[in-house]
Amino acid sequence: MIRFYGVSKVYQNGVTALNNINLHIRKGEFLFLVGPSGAGKSTLTKLIFREELPTRGQVIFSGKNVARMRHGEIPYLRRKIGMVFQDFRLLPQKKVWENVAFALEVTGVSRREIKRRVPEALKMVGLEDKAGMLPTQLSGGEQQRVGIARAMINNPSLLVADEPTGNLDPETSWELMNLFQEINQRGTTIIMATHAWDIVDKLKKRVVALNCGQIVRDEEGGGYRDEA
């Protein structure tokens, strides 16, 4: 589904964020990106949805070279990728259902279609009875559920989550992880950058560890830290 070929990223200020990354993520996988802050986890996710361009190398998503994509194609790439962020990125003045509907609105989906699909998405994340509330009236975990509903409403084949539980307490984090696993079981590929070592250790998914912009470990069913 996604392949990185010899990808390096050097930012304008001279910082090398990624150095010669080769990585193949298969369809349906659940992959944890781990590593210390500044190891290049965020940069790696940003390359997938063309928030950043690689300095060298290729990023192939669904057979398309993301780095060589024309400007006009980028929005259509992003509609195939759901994104979840540590800070939720909800619009505070819009109600819960409006926040979810926004993802359809900006892609020109009809009102009727929006009215049909938004409740479904809210039901999936268990917030159907909070549709009319504002994000500020929700707990952190609930806000992130809104973020997940918004990310999933276009039925993306890939979900990219950058530290989705970073601002949440352990119990809430586990509830969200169950939701992510459900989504993965329905066939959506998930790439998750995280510092939550207990979650990584327990779920035994594929773990890619980055350090100083390089892959130092790529282990199926691995833990947060190298066993050795």
Binding site: L91, E105, V106, T107
Partner: protein
């Protein structure tokens, strides 16, 4: 484009207008003033041109005769004048005819002339037209020497002066209009920059949700165009009603001044003002979209 999307554009544009209401008001005001000046200077030029044309076509020589000139002498004078080089038309106007013509040009106020019928002070005259306006002075000088001719007159320099005035109205009106239009473009671009800034979070979310660049840009473009349109509509209304009440006034008190009141000119001009307002708005927002909306 879907109807719901168009609805979205308008909602977004108007919510921004309300959010930046003071700046929006200032932009609209500037557009209004600049287009108001353009509108009135255009009307001034249009009328001055019309007046110049009227005067130019009526640059004719009037040769007034001594009172008591006999009919035979009048006939021979007419022949003599016709024979002068450059003369194209000679028309004899008796004092009675002159009074009738004057009545017509005074229109509703012709009552001023009542009582002149018995003791008509106007002289008999010849009205002479030449091929070119430049021949007027020479012909006039010759006619002055003919016997029986009392006085020769023509509208010396009036046309030239009027054309010079219209030229300056045109230049000054244009200069002021351009300066104000530039200010309007600047103000609108500032308004748009503010609304881009106020919504930068929303814009970044829209982008990762896969909104196309035009979907992000369009509400801002629309906002600028609404500002320009509002300004130009205000200016158009002010020009329209201002000018028509002026024209009615002039018509009542100074009936001999031929103001342009043809709707075809005015409608073209109002249409032009509105188009220009939209253009100013679009230009202002385009500048800010290019510079501050990084999509």
């Amino acid at each position: 484009m879907r109807l719901s999307t168009i609805g979205y554009y308008f909602r977004e544009a108007f919510s921004s207008l309300v959010r930046n209401s003071w700046l929006s008001l200032a932009s609209v005001g500037t557009v209004t003033v600049s287009l108001l000046i353009l509108g009135f200077s255009l009307l001034l030029v249009l009328n001055a041109d019309r007046m110049a044309a009227t005067l130019e076509s009526s640059v004719e020589i009037s040769a007034f005769l001594h009172s008591g000139v006999k009919q035979a002498q009048i006939t021979s004078l007419e022949q003599e004048i016709k024979a002068l080089p450059g003369v194209t038309e000679v028309r004899y106007v008796s004092k009675e005819q002159a009074l009738t013509e004057m009545r017509q040009s005074f229109g509703q106020r012709k009552d001023i002339l009542d009582g002149l019928d018995k003791d008509n002070p106007l002289p008999d005259a010849f009205r002479i037209k030449t091929q070119q306006a430049g021949q007027v002075p020479g012909v006039a000088a010759k006619i002055q020497t003919f016997s029986g001719v009392d006085e020769v007159r023509y509208g010396r320099g009036v046309v030239e002066k009027l054309l010079a005035v219209t030229h300056w109205i045109r230049v000054a009106g244009m200069a002021i209009m351009i300066a104000l239009a530039a200010a309007a473009v600047f103000l609108i671009s500032t308004t748009i920059r503010m609304s881009v800034f106020a919504r930068r979070r929303e814009i970044s979310i829209m982008k990762f949700l896969g909104a196309t660049n035009w979907f992000v840009r369009f509400p801002f473009l629309l906002e600028g165009m609404v500002l320009g349109l509002a300004g130009s509509l205000l200016a158009g209304l002010a020009v329209y009603f201002g000018y028509f009440s002026l024209a009615r006034h002039v018509n009542e008190t100074l009936p001999f001044i031929p103001l342009v009141t043809g709707m075809q000119y005015l409608l073209i001009m109002l249409g032009g003002l509105i188009a220009l307002g939209l253009l100013i708005g679009a230009l202002g927002s385009a500048i800010s979209i290019r510079r501050f909306l990084n999509v």
